[in-house]
Amino acid sequence: MPSPEEASTSTDPVSFSSLGLIKPLLEALEQLKFIEPTEIQEQSIPYALEGRDIIGVASTGSGKTAAFALPILQKLWDEPKGIFACVLAPTRELAYQISQQFEALGSAMGVRCAVIVGGMEITAQAVALAKKPHIIVATPGRLNDHLENTKGFSLRNLKYLVLDEADRLLDMDFGPVIDKILKVIPKERSTYLFSATMTTKVAKLQRASLSNPVRVEVSSKYQTVSTLLQYYCLMPQKEKDTYLIYLANTLAQNSIIIFTRTVHDAARLSIILRTLGFPAIPLHGQLSQSQRLGSLNKFKSGGQRVLVATDVASRGLDIPSVDIVINFDIPTHSKDYIHRVGRTARAGRAGKSITLVTQYDVELIQRIEKIIGKKMELWETDKEEIALLRERANEACRVAANELKEQQNSGKKRKRGGEGGRRDDRDRDDDVVEAGMPTRKRASRGGRR
C-alpha cells in the first residue's frame, strides 16, 4: 500500500460554496445554520470531490460526519441511484445519528436512508433494503447478516464505503466481519475512513483496501480540544459513590454524562441518583434497542439531565448540550478517554471533564496525561460537605443494591441462557455479539426453523 500523502493546510477563509458544493446542499447547510466549513470539512471535501480515497482524522466534535456526507450527496446528485453509499459505524446509536445527518443534509434532494442495525426486526430491514435506499448506514454485524441471508440484496453496485470511527471498526472485534463485507463490495469504489483517533498500523489499514488515499489530519493525533477543561478528583476507592453524588449535587444544573466501565455500575448508579432525586437515566448494552433509543432521546431532549452510560455512548454521539463528562472509572484504553470526553466541548463550545481517581488509578491517569499532552487540574472538593452526604449516599446504595437484586430475580428466567461467558459480551455492542434480549429471540427463532 502506498503511504498516505500528507495534506497541506491552507489559511485562506473558505465558504461551503467555494469548496465546490452544489446548490441543494448549500441550501440545506444554510437551513441547518452551518455557516462555514470546519477544518476537516474544508480540507477533505475537495479531495473527496476529486474522487480520492480519504483517511480523515480530526478531533471529536469537529464535523466529521458532514465531511464525508457532503461529497457523497453531491456525487449522488450527479448520478442518482439506489444503494449508492454504505456507511459503517460501530454502535447503533451512532448509526442512527449518521443517518439523521444524511437526511438533514440531503433533505432538499430527497435522499433516502436506511439504518441497518442489530436489535431491530430483520424482515422490516430486508423490506427497507429492497426499496433501494440511496444510503445505507449500518453496524457491520447486521449488514453482514443481510448480505448472507437476505435473498436479492447485494452491494455489488456500491460506489462509496465509509468507515466511521474507523480505528474501532478495523480492530480485533470487528475485523473479521469487515473483511467479509469488503469481499462482496466492488473494488472500484471510493473509501473514506474517519475517526478522532486513527491507527497507524499499516496492517489494519490494509483491511480497508484503500487505493492511493490522502490522509487529512487537522489535529495531531490523540488530541482533545482546547475548549475542554479537564480535571481529576482524588478519593479513596471505597468513597467513590459518595464523591460521585457530591459531584452530581454540586453540578446539578448541568447536563452530565457519567461513564462507567460495566453495565452493572451504570444500572446501579442510575438507581442511586434517581433515589436521591436526580433525573438520571441509564444507557447500556443490556437494554433493548428501543429502550436505548428512548434513553438517548430523553436525554437529548433535556427531559433527563444525567445520563449514566457505558462505552456504548462513548463514540461519535453528538448531543449538543452536554456540559460535563464524568469518568466514574478510568477507561482502560486511553483512546477511549479521548472519545469519552469528546462528548462535551463539541463544535467550539466549552465543556468540562472530571475523572475520578482512586489510589489504584494513579498510573493510569498519568498515562492518559502523557498521551493527551496535558496536565489535568485537581477538582476541589469540600470535605465537610462530603461527610454530610455520606449517610444518605450509603442509604441510596443499599436501595440500589436491593433493587438490582430484585430485577435479577424477576429476570432470572430469561437471563439464565445468557449467564456466564456472555455477560461481558453484552456491553461490547459491536454486533458480533448482540447485546440484551434480541439475540436470544433470534437464536430461538433460528432453532425452530
Binding site: T123, A126, L129, A130, T150, F153
Partner: protein, 577 residues
C-alpha cells in the same frame, strides 16, 4: 411428474414444461391487460390520493344494474378514475376458458350469470353478492374459480418467464437484469374462507372443472375426496332423505362433511393441480376461519397471508353462525409485512408490497345469502381496494306466512347501537313480558325466539327469577336435553320455551305445541320466521286465530326486518315517528 426439492423451493414447479407460446408471450407484455393494470408493478389504480380517500372512507356512490347480478351499489374512491365499471368481455385466458365454453347444455340464465360475474370481476373491484341463493351456488363458484385460475396463471407465467430470463443471463455470463419486480413476499395469492369441509370439496370441484384431464393432472385427488367428504360407509341422512323432509337450504348447508376445522394449500402448475401442498409453496389456501386461526397461532405468524391478492369468503351467512371472531382475526392478519423472510427474493418483490400497500389492491369477493351488520361492517371498513367495490342490492318481498296469523311488530326506540341490547332487554322485561304473563292464554304454549346467544343467557337468567315454568333450547343443548325440553313443552308441562337462532340453524327441529310466538328480535334467516309461524299448524285443529306472533324490533334490525316484512313494509316500520 416429480417436483425436486429445488423446484418446490423456487416455487416454479415445472419449468422444463413451460413453453410459452408466441401468442401468450404477446399478452404477457400487454400492459392494457386488466391484470397488469391492477396488479402490475406500476398499478394504475394505486395512487396516494386513492389511498387517502379509502382511508378516510371517502367514496363516490352510484347505483347501477348488472344483468343477472341485479341492481348494485358501487363505491369508487373519491377523486379516482378506476376505468370502465364493466369490462367488454372478460379478461380470461383462452386456454382456461376452453373447457367451460365447450360444455353443452348450460341453461341460459346460468350462462348469463357466469358472463356477468366474469365481466364484473375483471374490473378487479371488490364484489359482495349479498343475496346469493343456494340455487346459484354452483355456477357462481365456477365463474369465480375461473377468475382465480386466470389470476394465478397470469401471475405465475410472468414469474416463470422472468426466472428464465435471469437464468439465461447468468448462463451467458451477463449481469442478471435488476429491474424485475414480479412477485409478493410469499407464494400464496388466493385465500378462500369457508365454513365447512363440504364447502371446500364443492370449491375444489368448481376449480377442477376448468382443469380437465388430460391437459391437467389432479394429484392427491382421492385423498382430498376422502378427507373432505364423508367417511366411506357413512350415510348422509340429509342428502339421502326424501326431498321435502328437510328444508332445502338446511340440506344444502349441512350435507356432506360439516367439520369446521380445516386448511389446505393447493398448488397450481401449467399441467397440474396439487392439493395438500405446504402453505409457502402453494397458490390457493382454502380454510375455515377456525382452522386458519389455529395455524397462525401455532406458527406465531401469518406470513403466508402477507401476499394474498384475492380473498373469497363464501357462505358468509354460515360463517356468521360460526364464530365471527375468527373471521376478524384472519382479516387482521391479511396483507401484513412478513415477520420472517421465508426465502423471499426481496429484489423481485413488487414495490407496492414493499410499501405495505398490498391491502389497497387485494380483490375481495364476498358471498352471502343475506346481509348482516357484521358483513356490512366488513364490506364498509375492511375492504380497501382502490379500484372500488360493488355490492348487490336486493329488494325483498314480504316472506310468506300462514294466512290469517296476526303478526304484531313491536318497535322500541333506541338512539344508539351501543345501548341497543339494554334497551331491548328493558322493553322486553318491563313492557312485553308483563302483558304476556297477565294473559292466561298467552302465558302458556309460548316460544320465545332469541337470535343471539348473549341475549338468550340474559333472558334465561331473567326467567329464573320469575315463578313460571319454562325450558330452554340452545346450540349447546345435548340431545337428551333437547328431547326432554321438546316433550315437556309439547305436553304443556312447561309453559315457556326459549330457543336461540343457532339452535334452529344447526338442528332444525320442528317444535310442536306452539300457540304463541315472541321474537325477541327478528331472525337472521327469514325462512326461520315462516317456519316457526307454520309450526302451530302441525298440531290438529289449530285455527289461525289461536296463534299470536309478536316481533320486537328497533331500527338497527333493518336488515333482518327487511327480509321478513319486505323492503317496502320495513321502510314504513322503521320510519321515525
Amino acid at each position: 411428474m416429480e417436483d425436486t426439492p429445488q423446484d418446490v423451493q423456487m416455487g416454479d414447479g415445472d419449468q422444463g414444461q413451460e413453453i410459452v407460446s408466441a401468442k401468450e408471450e404477446m399478452d404477457i407484455e400487454d400492459t392494457t391487460d386488466p391484470y397488469e393494470q391492477h396488479f402490475g408493478c406500476n398499478s394504475v389504480h394505486l395512487s396516494e390520493a386513492a389511498r387517502l380517500s379509502v382511508d378516510e372512507r371517502a367514496w363516490n356512490l352510484q347505483k347501477s344494474s348488472r344483468g343477472r347480478l341485479g341492481p348494485t351499489h358501487e363505491s369508487i374512491p373519491e377523486g379516482c378514475d378506476p376505468g370502465p365499471s364493466i369490462m367488454k368481455g372478460d379478461a380470461i385466458l383462452d386456454r382456461l376458458k376452453k373447457p367451460s365454453n365447450a360444455r353443452k347444455g348450460v341453461p341460459k340464465d346460468q350462462h348469463d350469470l357466469r358472463n356477468d360475474l366474469l365481466t364484473t370481476l375483471s374490473t378487479y373491484r371488490d364484489l359482495y353478492l349479498s343475496s346469493s341463493s343456494w340455487e346459484n351456488r354452483k355456477p357462481t363458484r365456477e365463474a369465480i374459480s375461473l377468475h382465480l385460475l386466470n389470476h394465478i396463471t397470469k401471475k405465475r407465467r410472468r414469474v416463470i418467464k422472468n426466472n428464465e430470463r435471469i437464468s439465461n443471463a447468468t448462463k451467458a455470463g451477463n449481469e442478471p437484469p435488476e429491474d424485475i419486480q414480479d412477485q409478493g413476499f410469499t407464494r400464496p395469492s388466493v385465500l378462500i374462507l369457508l365454513p365447512f369441509r363440504s364447502s371446500a370439496l364443492a370449491w375444489f370441484s368448481a376449480l377442477t372443472t376448468h382443469t380437465p384431464s388430460p391437459e391437467y393432472q389432479i394429484e392427491n385427488h382421492t385423498r382430498f375426496t376422502s378427507e373432505y367428504g364423508l367417511p366411506s360407509g357413512a350415510i348422509d341422512k340429509l342428502a339421502t332423505a326424501e326431498p321435502g323432509t328437510y328444508p332445502h337450504d338446511h340440506v344444502e348447508t349441512f350435507k356432506g362433511n360439516v367439520d369446521d376445522n380445516f386448511r389446505v394449500g393447493i398448488k397450481l402448475t401449467r399441467k397440474s393441480v396439487k392439493p395438500f401442498t405446504e402453505f409457502y409453496g402453494c397458490d390457493i389456501i382454502m380454510a375455515s376461519p377456525l382452522g386458519l386461526r389455529q395455524s397462525i397461532q401455532k406458527e406465531k405468524n401469518a406470513d403466508y397471508l402477507s401476499s394474498i391478492e384475492m380473498l373469497v369468503m363464501d357462505q358468509l351467512d354460515a360463517l356468521t353462525m360460526q364464530n365471527w371472531d375468527h373471521v376478524k382475526f384472519i382479516l387482521d392478519h391479511l396483507n401484513k409485512l412478513p415477520k420472517e423472510a421465508h426465502d423471499t427474493d426481496f429484489s423481485r418483490t413488487k414495490p407496492w408490497y414493499l410499501d405495505g400497500h398490498s391491502e389497497y389492491l387485494r380483490q375481495s369477493i364476498l358471498l352471502s345469502a343475506y346481509k348482516t351488520p357484521e358483513t356490512r361492517q366488513l364490506y364498509n371498513a375492511r375492504l380497501k381496494n382502490v379500484a372500488g367495490k360493488i355490492r348487490t342490492d336486493k329488494r325483498w318481498p314480504p316472506i310468506e306466512v300462514p294466512e290469517g296469523v296476526d303478526q304484531n311488530f313491536l318497535r322500541f326506540e333506541c338512539g344508539n347501537p351501543k345501548d341497543e341490547t339494554d334497551k331491548r332487554f328493558n322493553y322486553f322485561t318491563t313492557q312485553l313480558l308483563p302483558t304476556i304473563l297477565k294473559s292466561a292464554v298467552q302465558s302458556s304454549n309460548t316460544v320465545i325466539f332469541v337470535p343471539s346467544y348473549f341475549d338468550f343467557v340474559r333472558v334465561h337468567n331473567h326467567f329464573r327469577k320469575l315463578s313460571v315454568s319454562f325450558t330452554v333450547l340452545s346450540e349447546y343443548s345435548t340431545n337428551q336435553e333437547i328431547s326432554r325440553a321438546r316433550q315437556a313443552f309439547f305436553s304443556g308441562q312447561k309453559s315457556f320455551l326459549i330457543v336461540t337462532e343457532r339452535f334452529h340453524f344447526y338442528k332444525r327441529y320442528k317444535l310442536r305445541g306452539i300457540r304463541n310466538l315472541v321474537f325477541y328480535g327478528p331472525p337472521d334467516h327469514p325462512q326461520f320466521y315462516s317456519e316457526y309461524l307454520s309450526y302451530p299448524f302441525l298440531d290438529d285443529g289449530v285455527e289461525s286465530l289461536d296463534v299470536t306472533c309478536r316481533v320486537l324490533y328497533s331500527k338497527y334490525d333493518w336488515f333482518r326486518l327487511e327480509r321478513i316484512a319486505g323492503t317496502e313494509e320495513a321502510i314504513e316500520l322503521t320510519k321515525s315517528l
